[in-house]
Symmetry: D2
Subunit: 375 residues, 4 copies
């Protein structure tokens, strides 16, 4: 097995230093290529523990294929603190979410794939795939070059495009995130719904084939476009390139002990891809369509006593939280006069909750999956 390492200068700071990406690549025998990155949102750090442990485990395993690792994929986000917490979800200067400035490279460049399909319509899929990867790599190179020449690279774009360029020729992309206070869950594109269960994370959000600017979407949309273009040209493709966003629990936390279970998810995916030997496990997934990933915005402001934790399921009518409004306090009846219970309007599973008990009206109190189905 062969390891290589490269540094990519990412972002100059006013003070003169440059923040860098470090990209490690491991190459074994012939096989697929998988791209794994973590901490695009700066406060979401458990993925780094997972990468570290995965690299440790790979020392003693036989790999068919190659893997790229980019821990701390957004150093600017990681370094940004307001108070003791990491303000890592948004660019503190612009408010832009660090996971929304990737591009759907086919649409962004107004590329018509019909010519590509026509030329390669009769090739075996593996050859098409090989050529298409090269095609995408060229597209993104010239896209970045053009923006650079025109001084049109804003901060988020820079981070996202460099990562996307690294990932664009992969057969699998795993973007490691976390929620605020969260259970483990993942996002999978519709065409990969059946594959997602090999990641051994029970809560699976199925997202439609639309582009919203995120890494997983930017990674699978070029293949969705290709499948569609071939379909128009009369050939049905069963695509074996996937991209998932894995949410490894709560932000601000780094635990190698927890990573022992987390890394199993990826090892099993690699077995599924044929890149590692061993039995491929799968679990029964709890699926929910993205449209059923509900956010409950706090209807009032106050102090919240959370009654359901991420990972817990609940029935319609169950108590989710009590919100206390101390300005209403009647000393004859302190608790009763201040409390507003919040009940579930339908059954579901809590996925995320707001990380503070002090809430203004309208903050994201809970995110939950509803209309859950099993495979």
């Amino acid at each position: 097995m062969q390891w290589t390492k490269k540094n990519i200068p990412l972002q100059q700071l006013t003070s003169g230093e440059t923040l860098n990406l470090t990209v490690h690549t491991i190459k074994g025998h012939a096989g697929p290529h998988v791209h794994i990155q973590s901490s695009v949102h700066g406060a979401e750090i458990q993925g780094n523990a997972v990468i570290l442990l995965l690299m440790e485990k790979l020392k003693s395993l036989k790999l068919n294929g190659s893997i790229t690792f980019i821990p701390l994929a957004n150093p600017f986000g990681t370094n940004n603190k307001h108070g003791t917490y990491t303000y890592g979800r948004y660019n503190p200067i612009t408010g832009h979410n660090w996971n929304r400035n990737y591009v759907d490279i086919i649409n962004a460049t107004k590329t018509d794939l019909s010519k590509f399909c026509e030329e390669h319509i009769d090739l075996p899929w593996q050859e098409i795939k090989f050529k298409y990867k090269q095609f995408l790599a060229d597209l993104i190179d010239s896209y970045i070059e053009k923006l650079t020449l025109e001084n049109k690279i804003q901060m988020n774009n820079k981070v996202n495009l460099i990562l996307q360029k690294e990932a664009i020729t992969s057969d699998g992309v795993l973007d490691l995130h976390t929620g605020p206070v969260a259970t483990r869950y993942l996002y999978a594109a519709e065409y990969t719904e059946a594959i997602a269960k090999h990641l051994l994370i029970p809560n699976i959000l199925v997202i439609p084939h639309e582009f919203g600017g995120a890494m997983d979407e930017a990674s699978f949309m070029p293949w969705v476009h290709l499948i569609e273009a071939f379909k128009k040209a009369g050939r049905e493709i069963l695509c074996d390139v996937e991209a998932f966003t894995l949410e490894y629990g709560s932000e601000e936390t780094f635990s190698l002990d927890d990573a022992q279970a987390d890394v199993e998810c990826i090892l099993n995916y690699l077995r599924y891809k044929g890149m590692l030997d061993g039995e491929v496990k799968k679990i029964q997934g709890q699926y929910s369509k993205l449209a059923n990933f509900q956010t409950l915005y706090s209807p009032i402001a106050g102090l919240v006593d959370y009654k359901k934790a991420p990972g817990e399921s609940y029935d319609k009518g169950q108590l989710l939280a009590n919100i206390y409004q101390l300005q209403k306090l009647d000393p004859q009846n302190p608790i009763e006069s201040t409390v507003t219970p919040l009940y579930a309007s339908e059954a579901g599973i809590i996925i995320n909750r707001f990380p503070s008990s002090a809430v203004h009206e309208g903050v994201e109190l809970f995110q939950m999956i509803t209309n859950v189905y099993h495979d």
Copy 2:
């Protein structure tokens, strides 16, 4: 003339207090209704001086029609400071721009206007307008009610929807903003390009009939949809409802002296609308399509010596700024070794610049209009 005032509770804070909107309405003789609001971005406060002075001037004028004034339209944004400056452009909790969560109420409710057109196809325009306003008011009421019932009102949505509800029956909407360090300019929808010059602000950005979440767009898109629907139904409409975003210079500044000129813009627009007596002035506009509103992102990090100020025009090749990178300092040649001049790649007019001379790579250094044309 009759003044009314109402308070709208806007947003509960954790501590128990509620932030409020104060809405003043002045009603004169019969005539159009104009809605004027300011400070949706909290740091952009000159519009409040303009509203104050405008209300002062109206005391001694005869008004045909009515005007709604909402100064300090986003108290949460106004109150939010990190350091001594107002962090007012984005929600500090979510990163959401405070001027991006209005709705295109026709699309958001999947409303098909063909039935409305059919029913009213033969009515005079003033009657259609009257009925359509009522139609819109009902739409937004039930839209808000539904979101509220489902606990789906996030913070930005609340502010934006309440303002939109206030404005939705207006014949003219003026949303008063400022840039960071900026000259005075405005945004006008394509169908109002010829009207914009009555606002006496020379720099005019012409925006297409697309929806991006801003107040002006949310105000004109229902009318754009109506025009289109009538066109399909065979009737050509010349719409006399407009919405403009006026950018009154730089943020963090409040000057009644400057407001003397700023208020003239609105008085003249009211004369144009027939709401005030007096000669309607117009100026020669410097127009630019939104696609030609360029942002120059800083290609490097460093300390910036700005050489062109907002309002200044420049030719291709002219010096816009010098960026100094002190880490490169060679004492044999201090200035030459550290400076990177930034030249214009094409002619234009500076509209905005970054309000700090300390810049990271990729920040919005300048915004400029290019391909400027005159009427």
Copy 3:
């Protein structure tokens, strides 16, 4: 029992609203007066749950004396968020700690207590105490009035002085705080070391009779000055006025379940003061002098895997945390090449830890008590 409630307007906001304090007072039979406040640091909210539950419990108890409750004692701090967390420890505009602008009213007003002592040297202590409270109340009133007239009331001062004015005639002051991620502990002045154990919180920090700007110090220093002045005048006083800062665990958390144990601490203190009937409990305290309250600043930057939690004791040489620096990663030895273990240099008990695993060089990684002694 008689309840009264008053609102104190605290701080006008730019948008026009005023943040308020709500002060509840309960009065029973004759007896001492205790002042209880919470959330001077905005993110430290568990004290509000404690106050709520305490008020609930008092409904069915017989009280000798009176108690003032001020929950949410710093609404500006409570409301301030950068990202989803509360930036409540410091004023976001000035960086001033919200618990450092109380005054040592005797020193601040350059008051010479010798005259007071001389006049009252032969009175019984209860009468002296009564007169001194009135003396202090007058002092702070005229101090605040003078600053107000001179426009010298800065934001933190305002909050602190108003609270101090409310508390200044109390026989006991309980200022309810929390740590970042913390165990329960309290601060007690040296002269109250033996009393502190009645609060049933095992970890007790004994602070010297010096003034650093905090509420507890501002509350006990006037009495320390009085004791000293009487001592000079030849009379030894055993003072029964105390002030404690209670740290109720971790910030951002509000739990009525946890409050069940927390409220027992205060009920027992009230029994100790003779204000409630019932057996007075005490526990064996783990004491540490403030000088032995150590902060371990992170010697390097990286991702921290915490190995000792607040509340845990450890011996010299034990592992406290592993810090991982991914930039050092050698793929031949991923974990070993990146880890820096942090060992204890002497025995102690962890009190606080940094609430994020992403740390820059020099942040407060742990606070621990060392040289712990028992009574």
Copy 4:
């Protein structure tokens, strides 16, 4: 003339990069040593333009002595932005002012100078000075070493101690700052009051010989202590070591054009020190004791129309600002119903003003010098 350059690693970031100081030293013929640093507060950047231009000018001058330059002396502060502005005055994690963690090295190490005086009582001053500098250098080295071993170096301490170590053997220290929106002014210790006028900045704040944690104080206090110790030992010293804080106008601004005048101040100081040839100029100073450096905290919240700018003098009773409170707006009398004029309570000169017109109650609206005297 000989230039040397060194890098000092200053602060590791979570992401792995290290922020550095770059120290340039120029050495000419024999003579005094002057230390010049800028941007300890990150938003205060004009000092960097001054250093750059000064280095440029020195190319063609003959220097007697040596000068150390540390531009961008606090890269962490410089890089920290919340919104588009630099949050550079306080550590965003702790709220600590970046110019308050220097140490009074004599007091911090409990050093008794009587022995040093005794040993050197009969030496010529230049020799004493030489030996004392070495003494101070050793003191700070061992102080830093001890803190480092104990993991007691917090973030601000690190920056401040490293700078102090660089400056501690200087004959003159110039710490280049700016105000928020400010005129040019400087701080001078009482014993250097007569020297300050050679810096050609008219507004001079005379500070007492007390230590508050700032660089200038940390630089002159060791010499104040030495003078006092010698005085006790019977020898009167006329100390020719000075430290000044120069405030070069407003923050966030970098202008080489403005630096042309700013650099003259330092060139003239160097001539005064005998380090450059040429006529030594001086100006008539406008002096004020620090106790007369008044802060006017905004007595109410609202929108401020500033009527006196930094640098302007005013008489008692003159209008300083109008504060508008829109919530009070009476449409019959818009301006009169909302305005609160703020008049001067005594004569003075405006030095600083708050950089935003949106103010909460209690913010630092103006800083002014009063009881101004001339030399």
